[in-house]
Symmetry: C2
Subunit: 427 residues, 2 copies
């Protein structure tokens, strides 16, 4: 029976039972963590062979003839550019293979635009345009928001719907306000909702008519190939789509192998129009002596081809899909029908997004801390860490072993129920 | 006999002989390169074992307990911080171990200061202060100057003397002009002169009284341990020295293993006061998910200790010292006593700096191109690529095999003489 239908007396007795359960669980002194969207030990072990695969000089020579142990090739070795071009359905000309962190490529792209303006000739640096703004579909990725906050870029929250950002709002704001310079997107298995942007969303994003000539779409394809089940979701390619609307230079795509090989020791990529890539490369060649080409060789030798990456991702999925299923089972068993929570059932990516009873997310987070279960703080998935409805929590199922994940999920359900009952009693 | 003492007739006959020699050499269609300050094949081979030394999970666990295959430790693994602290005679608190490129750390430091200002509370971003300037001791490192040029920072050339930058000029300019925000320094085996800053220079640099509160010394210790012979030059530690003058936060030190392990796949370091390092770390944790810790582990496992690095550098020196000696032999044999050239005899670093007859460096470079010998372009060692005396050329002896280096050096002497004679004839 839905909690909202309960009488005050029924709520009281429910509360009493939940309180008792809470105290019993607290006495167990749990020490669990479902906060980190990171790879588990089993996943890290999958790629160990990659670390030893450069044995002699011949392993270090790129097909370009470049000795990867030395300086050169600031935009990456050709074989790496080709494999990422295939992954992103574009051409190597549109690609720079960077260092180990796509977040770093995003930050640097914004920093460049702050100092120099976007890639168009005569563009005014963002930092010299007074107040500028980014649209932030939310719940979204906290580290995107952290970059904006640090740069002093005002963030405007836009709702995430089941097929992507609320495009009515995006279109209206972007076409009216020239101080809006960007939008953050995680188009596939979005962080944290797992939403896959629909074709209509991608077409509408491509067809935007921004009031700002220097408006840019930050397309963070972090989970482009991170399907949990048989078939990865298909998406149309935005770099092609934007050309139909004369928005050729409007999009930067980012991706990395952080959740394919090793977080922190993977390789990251930026893709955009050839025009943009050439300009970015010109800046990059002033910024750095080049990225780690030996690490690029390691990856190419290990995976061999896009096919090899896809096969490898099936091994990751075999480890983490059961974790997503377990969380869903526990949430369904404990929360379904109570009318106090809904959650996503992602088919890829790294997170489950849980909406608890409005106004209780912070409370649930606090209760979880009290139980010794580490959860991503409530609000983290919104600009300025402020969830307007105080209802969203991000669950990261990949890191803990199954038994710990079960305990943590059960604790989460208990806290969700207990906070909802308290809220209803005080309403 | 000195060329300047020759009669017109003697110059003419000398020219005729040199022209003949030039045409004969040109007919050989040389294809040589003494432009690249990079490691030779033999040097790259020295470190190959490092690439295979992470074999299983246990090799990937830092002494901090962190699994280096996963996210975390944005400022580096403790064992790497400790070894670089020892190298830089400071403490791990003053260190961030970064990615693969110290140039990238320098660029990012300037970019941060452009956007946010220096690390002091309430500091005004450099980009919001109108015209700002850097002092550029020259001849110096072209990539330092390229960063300033790209950022729109005006460069002021200061002479490099035998014991470092002309400190009289530096002191005067820095104390008078608040728009001067920085100075580039390569304190040990300077690029390209090989100069080792004297104790007096370092003390005077530490004791500067800058008109700008946000003035910073960019101390690029690229060759800190890159001695060619038995004993590395000793220098006092500037991070300690500045404290004596209340300039605690005035210096950023940079170094890397680019010319210890592999250029492009080494590890880079920034050191500064704890205050600065904490602020930089805070920005860095927004910018990146962290640097490549597995590559840090590779280096630590391979070198073991500072002692291990020193031993390794002896192996590098054994390969490259003979190349420096060879160039010096050829220059001495061909040019000594002619009064048209002088050159440095560095005891470390990667370059020999050759001053040809004033007003002929560009001409020498052109003649070398004509002969098929690739040399760093004349002017490259000065801001805006403009050598006011048109006399400096940078020789990079490390990459070519000895026989090619001999041919290239002989060609260089021929061109140096030929350009001088032409100049004297037209004077």
């Amino acid at each position: 029976m839905e909690y909202t239908q309960l009488t005050a007396a029924e709520l009281e007795s429910t509360k009493a039972a939940l309180d008792k359960e809470f105290e019993e669980l607290k006495a167990k002194n749990l020490k669990l963590n479902m906060a980190r969207g990171v790879l588990s030990n089993d996943q890290l072990d999958l790629t160990m062979e990659m670390l030893g695969n450069l044995r002699d000089k011949s392993d270090c020579i790129s097909e370009a003839g470049t000795d990867c142990r030395n300086y050169g090739l600031v935009d990456g070795i050709p074989e790496a550019k080709r494999i990422f071009a295939e992954l992103l359905c574009t051409t190597p000309d549109n690609i720079i293979v960077g260092g180990n962190s796509s977040l770093n490529l995003m930050y640097d792209t914004i920093a460049r635009n702050m100092i120099f303006g976007v890639e168009e000739e005569g563009s005014t640096p963002w930092a010299q345009q007074g107040k500028i703004k980014f649209l932030c579909p939310s719940p979204g990725y906290d580290r995107h928001f952290a970059i904006c906050e640090r740069m002093g870029i005002e963030m405007i929250t836009v709702d995430m719907l089941d097929d992507g950002p609320d495009m009515d709002t995006v279109e209206k704001l972007v076409s009216e306000d020239p101080s809006i310079k960007g939008i953050w997107c995680v188009p596939k298995y979005s962080n944290p909702t797992g939403v896959v942007y629909s074709k209509e969303t991608i077409v509408r994003m491509s067809a935007l008519k921004p009031a700002a000539k220097d408006f840019r779409v930050f397309w963070d394809d972090a989970y482009i190939i991170h399907s949990l089940y048989d078939k990865a979701a298909y998406q149309i390619e935005i770099l092609d789509e934007v050309k139909k609307y004369g928005n050729d230079n409007m999009v930067y795509i980012f991706t990395s192998t952080s959740k394919i090989s090793f977080p922190g020791s993977g390789i990251a990529v930026i893709a955009s129009s050839k025009h943009n890539i050439d300009k970015i490369k010109s800046h990059m060649s002033v910024q750095t002596i080049g990225h780690d080409k030996l690490n690029q060789m390691r990856h190419i030798k290990y995976f061999g081809s896009l096919e090899g990456i896809i096969k490898h991702m099936e091994r990751h999925a075999a480890i983490i899909a059961p974790k997503f299923q377990l969380v869903d089972e526990v949430l369904t068993r404990e929360l379904e029908g109570l009318g106090i929570a809904k959650w996503t059932k992602p088919t890829g990516g790294y997170f489950i997004s849980l909406d608890v009873y409005p106004g209780t997310a912070k409370k649930v987070y606090e209760m979880m801390c009290e139980l010794g279960v580490n959860l991503t703080p409530a609000g983290a998935t919104f600009p300025y860490r402020k969830d307007p409805r105080d209802q969203n929590l991000r669950i990261a199922p990949t890191f803990p072993p199954l038994d710990e994940l079960r305990q943590a999920s059960e604790a989460l359900c208990l806290c969700t129920k207990r906070a909802a009952v308290e809220k209803l009693l005080n309403a």
